[in-house]
Amino acid sequence: MSAALRLVDVTVAYERHPAVHHVSVDIPEGACTAVVGPNGAGKSTLLKAMVGLVRAVQGRIEFPHRTRAKIAYLPQQSDVDRAFPISILDMVLLGRWHGIGAFGAAGPADIDGAMHAIDAVGLRGFERRPLATLSAGQFQRALFARMLLQDAEIILLDEPFNAIDARTTADLLALVKRWREDHRTVVCVLHDLDQVRAHFPHTLLMARELIAAGPTEQALTAANLLRARAMAESWDDAAAVCHPGEAA
């Protein structure tokens, strides 16, 4: 299977302490990949490195089939100021940024697309409502609507179902399934292993280093999960400098 995204020996560090350590892996094209691991395993950092929000101190991230990847990214804790006076429609329309940019006008086709996306996430009738009036679940739906409109080839989701109720989660998972049927590449950080097994054919198991990658059932073995859980979450001030080639 061809790779949508190729990580080659990627290390991302915060103040020299690695959060992602020498990870090399291919993310399969047009499939749904889950990223699993304990807290502090570097899952969010890995996604941020893929979007380019943090730089790898070592290694590189390649997009083999693209010159410029169209990526949509949903952060775990979005920095959205939810009190900001903006309507749902305007917020969702930002998904067309690559088409309309900073100065272009949103045409009827853009607005039509935004209305469809809002409809698809189950927020019909909310178009003119201010963002501040949405509940946490409705807000997550609105963010998904914006991603639908982004029409991205690669979609990165960081714990999208945290604090989201069962019905909203089911609705949003249906959207993920639709992306899969469209052969888009989805990478999703998740904690619920049943969810992973049910909806994500591929899995990366991380514990700062890559523990396992591949078909979900082969990656999420009891032995692998145990190894991941054993990862020390400590930040060792006395840690030695890591020289490539040395055994960790």
């Binding site: 979007v51 929000l53 990526i71 952060p75 959205v80 006076p85 930002l94 900073a102 100065f103 201010p130």
Partner: protein, 291 residues
């Protein structure tokens, strides 16, 4: 009736400087209401205030070199304002000091420096003029400065509007689609400084922010969208200028405090009676709906 026209109209009919001051205030209102709304939305009200004080040493150096000459003082003020904004931003970015603390430090330094420089050469009257504004000094040149500022602000805000909105409410999204939000932030700061420079002639450096910020704060009690907030702020700013100038004329007080006090009155009334989050709604909340 005659009394009213004597009181409200004749100061402007009889005195050229009152007409110029009025036009200056109106132009200022048109340009600055959007800037004021964004200062609030970016939670930068106090930083904006600090920035306005930071104009003083620049204006003072201009005064030292050119006397009470508007171009010299304005240019000095603009350079000082931009320098303070950039330096405070950099201090905040490269050290552990938070941006509000670095702004406060910068503004105290600037205020002390400015008063010191003006006192070296000028009289207390000069100092009063620079600190609190003087409508008598509004000449044709300052009028064209204010008018150019207003035009430039409207065009500039139109140009950076969308990225600025996104930078305000979702900077991470802007970064993820590959836009450098900081550029728009600094463009906005430059426009804000420009407006304060234009305002300090009439309002003084201590209250240059008054006409930008107070109407915008008042408008936030009446409107809930960027555009409508600006539209509500505009007439309040214009009315503050008009009434404030009349008070300044009739009572013989500096124009800056007079204009800012009228704007404060708009703020207090909005706080009490506004349609969003006002005291009135807190005391007697309307009955809740079924859904």
């Amino acid at each position: 009736m005659e009394f009213l026209s004597d009181f409200l109209v004749s100061p402007f009919v009889e005195h050229g400087f009152m007409r110029r001051a009025l036009v200056a205030c109106l132009a200022l209102s048109i340009g600055s209401c959007t800037v004021g709304v964004f200062l609030i939305l970016r939670r930068m009200s106090l930083m904006g205030d600090a920035l306005a004080h930071a104009l003083l040493p620049g204006a003072a150096i201009g005064f030292l070199l050119g006397g009470l000459s508007l171009p010299a003082m304005s240019a000095g003020g603009f350079v000082a304002g931009i320098a303070t904004a950039l330096l405070s931003g950099m201090v905040a970015r490269f050290t552990a000091l938070r941006e509000d603390a670095s702004f406060a430090a910068a503004y105290l330094t600037a205020l002390a420096l400015g008063v010191m420089i003006v006192s070296l050469k000028g009289s207390t009257v000069d100092l009063m003029h620079i600190l609190f504004g003087s409508i008598l000094a509004v000449d044709d040149l300052s009028l064209s400065l204010v008018a150019s500022t207003a035009s430039l602000t409207l065009l500039g805000m139109a140009a950076i509007y969308r990225p600025l909105v996104v930078e305000c409410f979702n900077p991470g999204f802007l970064a993820a689609v590959g836009v450098r939000g900081a550029l728009y932030h600094y463009a906005f700061l430059a426009l804000a400084v420009l407006n304060m420079v234009a305002a300090f002639q009439a309002l003084g450096t201590l209250m240059a922010l008054g006409l930008l910020l107070l109407p915008a704060v008042a408008a936030s009690f009446w409107a809930r969208q960027v555009v409508t907030m600006s539209l509500v702020a505009l007439p309040m700013a214009a009315a503050s200028g008009f009434v404030g100038l009349l008070i300044s004329y009739h009572a013989g007080v500096p124009s800056g405090p007079a204009i800012v006090l009228v704007a404060s009155l708009f703020y207090v009334v909005s706080l009490l009676l506004g349609t969003h989050d006002s005291v009135r709604l807190r005391i007697a909340p309307p009955a809740h709906l079924r859904a």
